[in-house]
Symmetry: C2
Subunit: 342 residues, 2 copies
């Protein structure tokens, strides 16, 4: 079996999750290169990786490059992806720079892997919030169509990168430390310093703005859900709308999704479809939680129920590790679909 020279670019929360997924899934690697702005050694689980400084000299002989990207920030891919491609690599980019470009396939393998082959060297990985919604609704859309999707997300701090994840921890520690020996009724639940990464304190708070405000006063994150889902489904007639909220959770995004199908459908047929939807783990008698889904691969779905006042309208609750299926795992699944199956 052929083995590939693979590069991972970026070693933040998503880059490290990519290294973990490549190893756990035994991707056939000949040589693994890890790039970031500055050289160093990093540890992921029990393995040490040597990180090289990224420069156009070391792009030779790479077959596949995974760019870890960062939500909301111009990623390394804008600077370097083209150079990798010119030297013959296929690039999968987790950043948002190229997702909506017409000649760049935007792929969730469970939903539209047939679009992978149209790539011209660059394939985009969707936003984490989009991925879990589209996987959860994938089978439903295919079988019954979707007229309307109204989504509220409760997003983990790690979606904004490693520093954001750590800042929840630092803020929490500061509040616990400053209240040593203080009676509960006298607690001071605010940090003294300003917030580290987010616009406001995230510990013991929720922040209803992810990214910056854009047209119609939707945030970048909310538009990503709408436009990326349209592109992945290949159907911009679905009326999708979202409110995206940051919550004090480290990993795994949760989404309360209300949807209306195009065709007439019963609750029990929806349940059958969810049980058979690729990438979904549906539990009728259980609701998934962020803490329980960290490190797992599936999009967990529960609390499916119908709107008693409206035809063909339902709620579901879905939770997914935003660093794995929401980012790294999806990218690795894309490259698994690029190579011949063993």
């Amino acid at each position: 079996m052929r083995k590939y020279n693979v590069a991972v670019v970026g070693v933040g929360a998503v880059g490290c999750a990519m290294l973990r997924c490549l190893k756990q899934r035994n991707f056939p690697i000949n040589k693994l290169s890890v790039f970031a702005r500055s050289p160093r050694d990093i540890k992921v689980d029990l393995d040490t990786y040597h990180v090289e400084a990224i420069s156009s000299e070391n792009f030779e002989d790479i077959d596949i490059a995974l760019f870890a990207g960062t939500e909301g920030e111009k990623g390394a891919s804008a600077l370097y992806a083209r150079k990798f491609i010119e030297k013959g690599a296929v690039v999968v980019d987790n950043g948002s720079d190229f997702r909506l470009k017409e000649d760049v396939p935007l792929i969730i393998p469970e939903v539209n892997k047939d679009k992978i082959s149209a790539h011209k060297g660059l394939i985009a990985n969707p936003n984490c919030t989009t991925i879990q919604a589209v996987v959860a609704l994938g089978g439903i859309y295919k079988n019954f169509g979707l007229e309307k999707v109204i989504l509220t997300s409760l997003q983990a701090t790690s979606g904004a990168g490693k520093e954001a994840e750590v800042s929840l921890w630092e803020e929490t520690k500061e509040i616990v430390d400053k209240n040593k020996g203080v009676n509960y009724d006298q607690l001071d639940k605010r940090i003294d310093s300003g917030p580290i990464v987010f616009s406001h304190q995230i510990a013991f708070n929720v922040i209803p703005q992810i990214g910056s405000l854009q047209e119609e006063n939707y945030t970048t994150e909310e538009w990503k859900v709408v436009r990326e889902a349209h592109k992945i489904f290949g159907d911009s007639s679905i009326k999708i709308t979202a409110t995206c909220v940051r919550v004090p959770v480290f990993t795994s995004h949760s989404e309360a999704i209300y949807f209306r199908t195009q065709k007439k459908v019963t609750l029990s047929s929806l349940e059958e479809i969810l049980k058979a939807t690729p990438g979904v783990k549906y539990s009728p008698n259980h609701f998934p939680l962020p803490l329980d889904t960290e490190g797992k691969d599936e999009v967990f779905v529960g609390r499916l129920r119908k709107d008693p006042y409206e035809e063909n309208s339902f709620w579901l609750w879905c939770v997914c590790d935003n660093l794995r299926k929401g980012a790294a795992l999806n990218a690795v699944q894309i490259i698994e679909n690029l190579i011949p199956h063993p």
Copy 2:
């Protein structure tokens, strides 16, 4: 000016907030009695209150009794409200036992204070999640009607009582303490003991079930939003549906509310209405946060925006101190409306 003999029954999170509101608003009190299961002295802010054990002997001469109630638990009101009323008191009950009874007015003064006078000794205070939604939508309903309301709540732990609020703190402290000196990547973010109050760990987690599962797999909390809003608006034609989620926040519930008006309406007329809605503080260029609204009286509304794909359909984000306007303050406003205005 006449002064009243007032009793507060229950000294948990809501009972203490009632004592605070009565004082802050200078309710004309002749004699204040505080009742709970067991006698003791309690401190609220700088004041000490003597708590008497509740028994039918000490109900004489009470003009007004405020029952603090507890969400989801059969309250003291089921046992004692009738006895207070028989001795001549008017009871305002924050519990859920009587809210949907036909002869019990369910009141939010800003919305339906005209219904107060129909009481037969008992007036019910709505659920916290309902109150802030109905206040936020009150002016909109009155001016443009409401066809549909789709609501996702992010609810603070104090909504489940003082013990629940403290349990978030205890869980958080346990996690910080057990990870002293541990590198961020090796953190163990789970409590060792079982959860104290909620069904699962609430620290660094969200739980999409508040109350127990009822018909259609809605929770008690979700049905409260639907049925109480119908009763308060006096209009059960509004198609309301909700998903209620507990989040690791101490005080103030947040709600992402999607709604469709009956009449044609523009974003700017909605803004005018929100600015003029009693009890609402609307900020066009600012989003309210739980941490910033604790201890305040208003229902804070922000992120009003239209659904680009649907006529007369909008989102708003509202945040409110669930112990004040969501409970204690609303009850005190009800009794302010019972007495002659100075």
